[in-house]
């Protein structure tokens, strides 16, 4: 269950952040993160960030997820 994808926090406004998912941006709720910061990578499930992840992890996961080798 529980499709969740990694993205990067672009901006923060209260409990909301704008997160970039490989070129797609959407607001995400960051209520469940401790001290979120701009530039950090997070895993987002149905519009809510549920965990911070290392940049490396996010990028690896993401490359596989989207098979991003873009010709």
């Amino acid at each position: 269950m529980c499709l969740a994808v990694p993205g990067k926090i672009i901006s923060i406004d209260g409990s909301k952040a704008i997160v970039d998912f490989g070129g797609i941006r959407r607001k995400a709720d960051i209520t469940f993160l401790e001290e979120p910061k701009i530039g950090e990578y997070v895993i987002v499930h149905v519009g809510f960030a549920i965990q911070k992840v290392e940049e490396e992890v996010a990028k690896n996961t993401y490359n596989l997820l989207a098979e991003m080798e873009d010709e």
């Binding site: 529980c2 499709l3 998912f21 490989g22 070129g23 797609i24 941006r25 499930h45 989207a66 098979e67």
Partner: protein, 331 residues
């Protein structure tokens, strides 16, 4: 959107909304039709302003197609319902090998549609019609009570002439797509689910694409609502062959794949409005197609058997005709 050449007079922005009276057959309706006509290229056939338009039949094959268009919202990144209608109708003819010689345009309008929106859509159709020199030769306008239709329904027909592209598909033939898939579907889903992207509809007229592959093509299909998956399944079934596709060879923008990852949707199920799939002879030369769209690619080949087999990065899977509406999943 401006006239492609800059030479056409752009009529003033009309104010107000479409009313029931605008479709009642009286003075208001004649004025509306006049205003529509001013924005369209209607010449080419005889009697376009009469009950039926006519043209002389030369020798050869006549192609005829019809379609209806509904889309929410009417305007979306990179286009509107008018663009879909024009390109869709032309493409239906083009992929069969026809050069379109005229289209019809029937408009079913919901009362209350703002006139500026309505005429923007007509303007788009007019500009495309002029650019591609395909006239709108006849049409109809109806206005319905509020709630009876959703804003605007466009019904078209198209007539063309040419040589039919449809021959036997053989083992070893290659499967070609004309560009990155799913951009139209992704752009609409992004709007619906409040996602910010640079993605725009891929809606376009594909006459040049067809010309670029015509010499090699055995069968061409316009990819539309059901996405690539649906079209491939249809071809495999109709032609009684197996289509073997390399998933990693299928071109798609990284934003399209990212959006699919987020919403849990298979990118092969996303709608396209300006992409085609072709089955071409084994010696197919893709260079002309790549000049039109560098993302064009050979994605697989035809073999004996049935169905569509997708080779993923790891294992193989069968592809089936998608069903139901596309909805994002949570899991």
């Amino acid at each position: 959107m401006n006239c492609a050449t800059g030479a056409c007079p752009v009529p003033d922005e009309p104010k107000g909304v479409i009313k029931l009276a605008d479709g009642a057959g009286g003075r208001e309706m004649h004025e509306l039709i006049k205003e529509i006509g001013a924005r369209l290229r209607t010449s080419g056939w005889q009697g376009s302003d009469d009950d039926a338009a006519s043209f002389c039949v030369k020798e050869g094959r006549v192609f005829f197609t019809t379609d209806s268009y509904v889309v929410t919202p009417l305007f979306f990144p990179g286009g509107n319902i008018g663009k879909l209608a024009f390109c869709g109708t032309v493409n239906d003819l083009a992929v069969k090998g026809a050069l379109p010689i005229g289209l019809s345009l029937s408009l079913v309008i919901e009362e209350g549609l703002p006139k500026d929106e309505f005429f923007k859509i007509i303007q788009t159709i007019g500009e495309l019609s002029k650019k591609h020199k395909i006239p709108i030769v006849t049409g109809d306008t109806k206005v319905m009570d509020k709630g009876a239709v959703d804003k605007l329904v466009i019904c078209t027909s198209g007539v063309g002439t040419g040589e039919l592209i449809d021959s036997k598909v053989e083992e070893g033939d290659v499967i070609v797509v004309s560009g990155g898939i799913g951009e139209h579907g992704a752009a609409l889903l992004a709007k619906r689910f409040e996602l910010e992207t640079e993605l725009e509809t891929d809606s376009k007229v594909m006459l040049e694409e067809v010309a670029a592959i015509q010499a090699y093509a055995r069968h061409i299909k316009d990819i539309t609502r059901g996405g690539l998956a649906s079209v491939l399944c249809e071809i495999a079934e109709k032609k009684g062959v197996m289509l073997e596709v390399e998933e990693e060879a299928i071109p798609a923008k990284k934003e399209v794949k990212a959006l699919c990852g987020m919403l849990g949707i298979d990118f092969m199920n996303l709608a396209c409005e300006g992409r085609l799939v072709a089955i071409c002879k084994p010696d197919f030369d893709i260079s002309a197609l790549k000049k039109l769209n560098p993302a064009a690619a050979i994605i697989g080949k035809v073999s004996k058997g049935s169905g569509v087999v997708v080779q993923t990065r790891l294992g193989k899977k069968m592809l089936h005709m998608p069903s139901g509406n596309i909805v994002p999943r949570i899991c």
